[in-house]
Amino acid sequence: MKYGYYPGCALHGSSYDYERSVRACMEKLGVELAELDDWICCGATAAHSINRKLATALPARTLAIAERDGFEQVFAPCPMCSMELIKVGNMLKDSESLRTEMSEIVEDTVSGKTEVVNLVQIFQGCGIDELTARAVRKLDGFKPACYYGCLLTRPPKDLKFDDCENPGSMEDLLAALGAEPVRAWNYKTECCGAGLTLADGDSVEDLSYKILSNAKKHGADCMVVACPMCHVNLDMKQSAIEKRFKEKLDLPVYYLSDLVGLALGIDAKTLCIDKHFVKCGV
């Protein structure tokens, strides 16, 4: 299987660990990733807070590149990127005048026909049976709380992925690989503060504390995420959160690809699990 690959800025910068982990899994599974030539940033929160036209044009440029180079499917491991690409793709499909306008702005024809998928969908595409057949290690002993955050499931009318209030696809995947995910807890899709990590640190700590402490209360011994920003807020900020709220949390935060990778027999170092801030005993 071959996908156009859109790493996005985070995976090429501070979330290099996520990129390594994803790539190691794809290699093991024989999924070929071809990085989109000269891709540009999706604009993230900044573009749609300041200039909505730009928030449409930036993802449109990346979609135009995918169309030009003949990729029917693009894999974007960052949910903010994949959401922006999918949303703009749908807007383009719906409006001829927008297609004309955007093709002019991004200087290439863009129609929005590319299918964009997230990390969970990539694993689902491989097939849960195929994954379990290839697994060399059972994930027993892991009791993760799977945290979806905002943009894996929202906006539901664009993403059409899982149940936007009570998703379960990561749990299904990990349970098949032998883990015992915590199914019932309250903050699966609550926001961690995402892009405000630097701009409004207090809000991020308040929100992330609720997520972590609730997961712990419901019996989780680690967290699983599929988003670079969720990882920064729950992992890197965890010690500051513990200090501020005077509560020991001690919850390792794995990317979904970390645990799938371990099950597939990839070692922790290759997956860059040692780069995480909260110590992971694997």
Partner: protein
């Protein structure tokens, strides 16, 4: 989509691609908002103010910039109002009309720094962003809130070295963009559209 002759309401609806008149004030958006407890005005209150044409006053709210764009409100609205889109419109209006709440100049500085780097490079780079943002935010604070400016400039300084140690900050990022001029042209065209 056009439900109004009031130019301010029309501007919000045009930016947000949604009809604020559809809101019947059930309050569901506010009930689920993760930032609701902190807000000076709730999302449903802001929608009500926009319905009345009180757009500029609404744009002064701290809530506009306290919003974390989580999209919970828009996903749950029984009338399909894109509340998060309306808040984005209010963000943009608050910048244009200079009505950004005094405590959130820093958030705006951050978003602007992000876009400046993007305009130059086509991609963002955390290291550059932290530096640019801290300087922009510092000056923004000094003019509005001098007492807060120094501690805030230092606040995340400790994360830099720790991130470097962990290999979290990569000085050498993925290869640079080949066609940076195209990105600048895209910015220019989009900015022109907004002005007109």
């Amino acid at each position: 989509m056009k439900t109004t002759t009031d130019p301010d309401i029309a501007l919000v609806e045009e930016i947000a691609h949604t009809s604020v008149a559809d809101c019947y004030q059930c309050g569901k958006c506010s009930a689920g908002c993760p930032q609701g407890q902190k807000m000076d005005r709730l999302p449903s209150t802001l929608i009500r103010m926009v319905q009345y044409g009180d757009v500029v006053e609404a744009s002064r709210s701290a809530a506009v910039w306290q919003c974390v764009s989580c999209l919970t409100c828009s996903a749950r609205c029984p009338k399909s109002v894109d509340i998060a889109g309306v808040l984005d419109a209010l963000k943009q209006i608050s910048i244009r009309r200079k009505t950004v709440h005094a405590n959130y100049q820093r958030t705006v500085a951050f978003q602007k720094a992000f876009l400046e780097i993007l305009r130059r490079n086509g991609r963002t780079n955390e290291l550059e962003m932290v530096v640019l943002y801290k300087t922009l935010g510092f000056f923004g604070d000094v003019s509005t809130n001098p007492l807060r400016s120094i501690p805030s400039a230092l606040k995340d300084a400790h994360l830099g070295p720790a991130m470097l140690l962990k290999g979290k900050l990569h000085v050498k990022l993925g290869g640079p963009l080949k066609d940076k001029a195209l990105v600048r042209r895209i910015f220019k065209k989009c900015e022109k559209k907004v002005e007109s």
